[in-house]
């Protein structure tokens, strides 16, 4: 048993010394920004009912939950995300006004062992509830843009995708083939999409377009060209929405569009966005519009939100620090 005096469980994540200092500094800057924009800070419970998550995430991999049985014999889990508890909280208020929430805290998701992954993940985020596209999108993206200078990271790329574009693609391909198509599109599987189109005899123009989708992940030029090249009005409109947003928001040349973007949650309806740093292998921020989430609670309420993955941000900042230190030695 001696081992337990010195080791931490593999699920644990610890942040020490300079990284705590940085984390608190970023947290403070983001908190100031969110307060300025009238976002109310919330402190969500550590435990939630498993049923709450299962009712919203139909395909939830339950093995990622840290589960317990409470004293009534009900299944409860450590907080797996903030969006769902905040939706529950909003509904419990029995108001239908616009609400602005921000949160700072950890979520707990079991990872496979010995892969260099943590199961406690520090997230900071906002939820803007009751405000529709485009107004809501503009508010969220403008806060995102204001926040990016916090991290002293260069080469950040904001990437926009569209759930309505994806939904229309699924309609064109055939809803019965949605799952197979979505898996291939998520993987940008060029060979797989080709075989898929052959297998189902998809009409030539559409199949050429589908096979080209993995390549359509680039800057504003890619988006403009695609808008000119496609005939389907609905597809075109969803891309024009992205282009308008890009222009309204004064986004930058290096920012990206991903036309093969597949929403990773069923409730996404509009824009989906991610922020990348080349110094960390996973996105540092992700978010999107999810007007369907509240249907799970019997309401029709539009909403948009985003989460900052603080561990990924710290990893990128640390990496940049290491590179700078190395360069100054040479």
């Amino acid at each position: 048993m001696e081992l337990y005096k010195f080791a931490i469980p593999e699920e644990s994540n610890e942040v020490i010394v300079e990284n705590v200092y940085k984390l608190r500094k970023y947290e403070e800057m983001l908190r100031n920004l969110f307060y300025q924009e009238n976002y109310i800070e919330t402190l969500m419970p550590t435990f939630e009912y498993v049923e709450l998550y299962k009712s919203v995430y139909k395909n939830l991999d339950e093995s990622t939950l840290f589960k317990f049985v409470d004293k009534e014999g009900k299944d409860i889990a450590l907080r797996w995300d903030f969006t769902v508890p905040l939706a529950r909280y909003y509904i419990s208020q029995k108001k239908e006004d616009i609400a602005r929430y921000c949160y700072f805290g950890k979520v707990y998701r079991k990872e496979k062992e010995h892969r260099g992954k943590n199961s406690e993940i520090y997230q900071i985020g906002i939820e803007l509830i009751g405000k529709k596209a485009i107004e809501g999108d503009v508010e969220c993206i403008s806060i995102l843009k204001k926040s990016l200078s916090t991290f002293e990271l260069k080469d950040l790329k904001i990437e926009l995708g569209s759930a309505s574009f994806y939904n229309r693609l699924c309609e064109l391909v055939g809803i019965d083939k949605k799952d197979e198509f979505s898996n291939l599109l998520t993987q940008k599987n060029i060979s797989g999409l080709k075989k898929f189109c052959d297998k189902y005899n998809i009409e030539e123009n559409l199949s050429t377009f589908i096979v080209s989708l993995p390549r359509l992940n680039g800057n504003i030029d890619v988006l403009k060209q695609t808008i000119n090249n496609i005939n389907d009005k609905e597809l075109q409109n969803s891309l024009i929405e992205l282009k308008d947003l890009y222009e309204t928001m004064n986004m930058k040349e290096q920012d990206l569009f991903d036309l093969a973007c597949v929403p990773n949650m069923e409730y996404y309806t509009g824009i989906i966005f991610k922020v990348y740093s080349k110094y960390v292998e996973k996105p540092i921020i992700s978010g999107g519009r999810y007007d369907k989430l509240y249907e799970n609670f019997g309401k029709k309420i539009p909403a948009i939100g985003m989460a900052y993955y603080m561990d990924n941000i710290l990893k990128a900042v640390t990496k940049v620090g290491e590179i700078n230190a190395k360069n100054s030695l040479n």
């Binding site: 892969r115 260099g116 940008k188 060979s191 990206l256």
Partner: protein, 208 residues
């Protein structure tokens, strides 16, 4: 410069040939001794690794691209990559293999299956509504039935000569296996042109 993790052995050989066809100088690959990392024309940096490790290196963004068999990808829990291309090299298939008497077996217990791929095996038998006991072996899985530990094996079959030499045969094919070009998602955002350029070259050489 693109960083590539290449699965050692069979896939390495086939991929070296592909790189040769599309015009890379493959001498550094052929002449490597015990080096774990080789550069080609200042364009590609290639590291050699075991298949599961190739996926780990892609997962952590250590390399941009991984060249790895779909058998390993199917078995692995990490799925958050782009699978840009089927290289159509190192083709083989997953199969249930046993003695010819397998289908007539009458047992008073669950069947026992030896495999290096417990996840794939589990999914396959689940899809058949069959409950089996899976025993993971690391080396020659064929030993399972040969020494009487298991009733059958689930493994990749290339030529089938090992099976034949031990009196075993393919009972049922499960899925085709091929070599895939996978890519770390974030690296794709920063090196798209280079990555797609390589993909295009390989695609063209395939259609020849």
């Amino acid at each position: 410069m693109l960083k590539i993790a290449l699965t050692k052995g069979r896939i390495e050989k086939a991929m070296t040939e592909t790189l040769n066809q599309i015009g890379y100088d493959i001498k550094p690959l052929i002449n490597k001794d015990r080096e774990l990392q080789v550069n080609i024309d200042d364009k590609l940096q290639i590291i050699f690794a075991k298949s599961n490790d190739v996926i780990i290196f892609v997962e952590h963004g250590i390399v941009d691209i991984g060249i790895v068999g779909s058998d390993t990808l199917l078995e692995n829990s990490f799925k958050d990559y782009y699978e840009l291309l089927d290289l159509e090299i190192g083709k083989c298939s997953f199969a249930v293999c046993s003695y010819p008497t397998y289908n007539n077996l009458k047992l008073n217990r669950r069947k026992r299956i030896a495999t290096k791929y417990p996840n794939i095996t589990k999914r396959y038998f689940e899809s058949k509504d069959e409950d089996v006991e899976i025993i993971k072996l690391e080396g020659s899985v064929e030993l399972g039935p040969v020494v009487g530990l298991t009733d059958a094996i689930v493994d990749i079959v290339e030529t089938g000569s090992t099976l034949k030499a031990n009196g075993l045969e393919i009972i049922e094919k499960i899925i085709e296996v091929s070599t895939k070009l996978i890519c770390n998602k974030t690296m794709f955002k920063y090196k798209k042109e280079e990555i797609l350029n390589l993909v295009d070259l390989i695609e063209k050489s395939k259609s020849k």
